[in-house]
Symmetry: C2
Subunit: 295 residues, 2 copies
């Protein structure tokens, strides 16, 4: 990647994180409206700083297929916000005492620490609903179905269950790949596919972008596991060592840290090689960003 492309990539990421923050603020019900406490809890978790990588991948996939347009269609904006909302709902429920029992997330106390468990369960449920509302407002039934596939029992929720059931025992690499592909990979894959679908991508493009999403989705979670071991809590915004404490199945746990790093790098390289015809592009930048991220 040329230095100029890296600068352009960083600017893209920064600009669109700000866009996502604005969209979330616009589409999440305001705290001035009843039920205020629920809206406050939803916004608390949603507006805490996040990488916003899922909506940005959706946007990048859309622009890759449709070309950059003067103004972004409302449907794409709504899909972007929906993806971040559904991700945030999963974090809120995942952090609950009966699940991973985490106190810190995105640099602030977790939703249940701040608002109590009942409101945290309901805030997660409510973000889940608003996500489907926004996705339906794209007008695309296919986009709604893509989201249900990503977060349903064969996707994210199935991965969360497998993750819980793999605790406290030694698991194989194949098993961790299976967990990670569903728990984290499915929503990242779905984000990319929804962007492509909203751009009316051809089957060939959709298939290529699906492979891209699968590769960077798995790489993302491998890096997550590595950062949980050797990351910096101040940069991460969540406690490190949580996986070890909870005796989670992790990729480095299955194959060791060195091979984990190597496999993540290989997945990123494979995702780059899906675009042999083009020079630098934003999808490539985002893949590299995922491979090198520190939070």
């Amino acid at each position: 990647m040329t230095p100029l492309a890296a600068i352009a990539g960083r600017a893209y990421l920064q600009r669109n994180r700000e866009l996502v923050d604005r969209l979330l603020d616009e589409y999440c019900p305001p705290v001035t409206e009843e039920p205020r406490s629920l809206h406050e809890a939803m916004r608390y978790s949603l507006m805490a700083s996040g990488k916003r990588i899922r909506p940005i991948l959706c946007l990048a996939a859309y622009e890759f297929c449709a070309g950059e347009t003067a103004s972004l269609p409302d449907g794409v904006k709504k899909a972007m916000a929906a993806l971040e909302m559904v991700h945030t709902y999963s974090l809120i429920h995942d952090d609950l005492p009966c699940m991973d029992d985490d106190d810190l997330r995105r640099g602030v106390p977790t939703c249940h620490k701040k608002f109590g468990e009942a409101l945290a369960v309901l805030a997660g449920d409510a973000l889940h609903v608003v996500a489907f509302e926004l996705m339906a407002q794209t007008g695309s039934v296919q986009a709604v179905l893509e989201l249900t596939t990503a977060v349903g029992t064969s996707g994210m929720l199935g991965g969360q269950v497998a993750d819980i059931e793999a605790e406290e025992r030694q698991v194989s690499r194949a098993e961790v790949v299976n967990i990670h592909t569903r728990k984290t990979g499915a929503l990242i894959r779905g984000s990319v596919r929804i962007g492509a679908l909203l751009a009316n991508a051809s089957d060939r493009e959709l298939s290529r972008l699906t492979s891209y999403g699968e590769k960077i989705g798995l790489a993302f979670q491998i890096i997550d596991d590595i950062l949980d071991i050797e990351g910096d809590q101040r940069i991460l915004g969540k406690k490190v060592g949580s996986d070890c404490k909870n005796q989670k199945a992790t990729y480095p746990g299955a194959v060791g840290l060195d091979r984990a790093r190597g496999d993540a790098a290989r997945l990123v390289d494979e995702s780059l090689s899906l675009f042999p015809e083009s020079g630098d592009n934003i999808l490539k930048y985002l893949a590299r960003f995922i491979g090198q991220r520190e939070n």
Copy 2:
């Protein structure tokens, strides 16, 4: 209502409860598929006997607008199953220790009592997703949006929050009506409206059925409150006295038992008077059934 109409009504209810049970079995992922434990928990709560009143109201509204057809369209079947799934998800989360902390539901231990809290949270989330998947498979974006309105923060979830926040204090009739209209009424209203929408009802019919849904929705929850005071646990399938124990805002608590009974009866009568042109019909039977139910 003539004795013949009452017999026909009971048969309709019985026949379509069996239909709903078959649809839920068909559309809920099987326990032979991974994640088995999650699918088992979903099915446990879903297949425990229920009144199935929401899907049956959806069906009755559809048939009222479209006429009875030789074979029911798949979209209507899917919407019916979706409504029961979304209702069951709300019961599972509502029963959690951090919420109402109930041990018994539909005559069997609650989901978290049987499977633990983590799996209960996830089973609720998963039923929520499958509900949206089925609703999207009707092909009607409008039906999906109707469901999000019914269960979102201005509907069911908002009502649950208001319900929690009203605990342990005296509330006015207006406040209880507001809570009940959202907590229970919104999904019953939505069930009726979705049936009408799938039948391409005219604006006039949709508006009339919306009034019907609102009236019987509120009546349903008033009766629920009354049954929690003087119902039979063996018939109800859940513990009585739960509202009192949890110091919930109830309609009889606000206005007394006698007036509560009178107001429920009046709401049922008003719902019947919305159909002055027809003799007995199933919607009228269902309204009376809601007014007289013992579980």
